[in-house]
């Protein structure tokens, strides 16, 4: 725990709880998941904190997915009306996919049928094109790699642990993909689609569950390697 005089030291990944003091004279805007009280910087979450000089970075270990513009997400169609689909993106807010995005600018509800493209229950890969505090997120599927996903199994992971699943420059995801002979489609919103042979999917799901449990440990890569070699035979 961080208390008083200890904070002058360079701290490598210290465990913090809400309300813990991170810095006693922090200048500027507070980084994500922290807040300022006078000049003091305090934590808002359970997580790990990295402090390097003036840089403070808090990695939360739990929390809902807050949409961000340009995030790649995986969602499920839950409803539609004449002009748009409602998409569940595992977040606080339901996202909207406008029909114009799919049918083009000459879309008209008389001539185009929304269900010809996406039905309720369909899973799709999409990108967030707009979101702010006052409006629900809007999605697009007009980019390469986006659109309906027809095969694979969805697996959920806490959104805050997605960076651990991807690893440095995608290293962790590559290890899992090559050892389980699967393909991972990783949404920033904490939904992962695993595609490939069923044994591979089971094993990849196990690896993802291990990340969920042990995301805070530095030896995670070794543990994943060990699991995949042991169970993969």
């Amino acid at each position: 725990m961080l208390h008083g005089s200890e904070i002058i030291m360079v701290l490598v990944r210290t465990k913090v709880l809400p309300g813990d003091l991170l810095h006693d004279s922090y200048q500027g805007q507070p980084p994500p998941h922290t807040y300022k009280l006078g000049n003091k910087l305090l934590s808002l979450k359970v997580g790990l904190v990295e402090i390097e000089g003036k840089e403070v970075k808090l990695i939360p270990l739990a929390g809902p997915y807050i949409p961000r513009v340009n995030d790649f997400v995986i969602g499920k169609i839950i409803d539609f009306d004449a002009f748009s689909w409602d998409v569940d993106i595992n977040s606080i807010y339901t996202a909207h996919l406008p029909a114009q995005d799919v049918f083009g600018r000459d879309f008209s509800p008389q001539t185009h049928s929304l269900t010809s493209q996406f039905k309720v229950g369909d899973i799709l890969a999409a990108k967030i094109i707009s979101y702010d505090r006052t409006k629900d997120p809007v999605l697009t599927v007009r980019d390469h790699g986006l659109g309906k996903i027809v095969n694979g199994e969805p697996v959920k992971l806490s959104p805050s642990k997605i960076p651990r699943l991807i690893g440095k420059k995608g290293s962790m995801a590559k290890i899992i993909e090559s050892k389980t002979k699967t393909k991972l489609i990783i949404g920033q919103n904490g939904v992962i689609i695993v595609q490939g042979p069923s044994e591979g999917i089971v094993l990849a799901a196990k690896a993802i569950r291990l990340i969920e449990e042990k995301a805070h440990l530095p030896s995670l890569t070794n543990m994943i390697n060990e699991l995949l070699t042991r169970e993969g035979g």
Partner: protein
């Protein structure tokens, strides 16, 4: 009325004036909740669950600039000595309100506009000081759900029995004693977020009671911290 403190200063359950009842906290006990916690505070056994932040339904409840909190404190029919009607009583409605107010001061509501945070507290077995135990469980559940919080909240009561200020009243001491004051506290910010009082204290006694409550709350905080660290990091550093 029998004596609540004997001549050696020992209370009926064997505690001294400044001792808490045994406390056990478990985090993440409900799989389908976004955050949950179970607390045993003396003979209190309480489960707290947090759902959300999620879209507010009915929609007119939502506020454009912040989240709203809905809290339900409920005692199971089998939680008391005689069967309690499952219908929310006056007391339960009041406790739901004070718990909500206490957590609203800790949660960073502005971070989740247009949404709602549902908090459910179910008392499985009741003893004295259940609102204090509940707020501790709720704050553990909120931390587990990853909702942004200014600080953790802990709760602990003080009271007066046989003319003496003591920490953490049990059910019997609460009923037979002369005063009861539940206090919930944010230890890092040094702020009191819930204070209720029933009985008669002199000014001096009141000041002593507040100091004692904060002392007790700091002990509860250590236990809560341990439980959270154990759940999230597996181990507790001895430091």
């Amino acid at each position: 009325m029998g004596k609540l403190i004997d001549e050696n200063g020992i209370r009926l359950d064997g505690r001294r004036w400044d001792e808490l009842r045994p406390i056990k906290i478990e985090i993440g006990v409900i799989k389908n909740a976004d955050g949950s916690a179970y607390i045993e505070f003396g003979r209190n056994k309480i489960i707290a669950a947090v759902y959300g932040p999620r879209e507010a339904h009915p929609k007119h409840l939502a506020l454009p600039d912040r989240a709203i909190v809905r809290c339900r404190y409920h005692m199971a029919p089998f939680s008391t000595e005689e069967r309690k009607s499952p219908q929310p009583s006056r007391r339960e409605i009041e406790i739901s309100l004070v718990l909500r107010r206490a957590m609203e001061s800790a949660i960073f509501l502005e971070e989740y506009p247009r949404s709602i945070i549902d908090v459910f507290v179910e008392v499985l077995q009741s003893d004295g000081g259940s609102r204090c135990a509940s707020i501790t469980a709720v704050s553990a559940a909120l931390a587990d759900s990853g909702i942004s919080m200014r600080d953790l909240i802990v709760g602990c009561a003080v009271g007066k029995i046989d003319g003496q200020i003591v920490l953490d009243l049990s059910d019997h001491e609460d009923k037979e004693g002369e005063g009861d004051m539940p206090v919930a506290y944010m230890p890092n910010l040094d702020k009191i977020v819930l204070l209720q009082f029933d009985g008669i204290f002199s000014e001096e006694e009141f000041k002593k009671a507040i100091d004692l409550a904060i002392l007790g709350n700091k002990k509860v905080y250590e236990i809560l911290k341990r439980a959270l660290i154990e759940k999230y990091f597996g181990t507790v550093d001895e430091k």
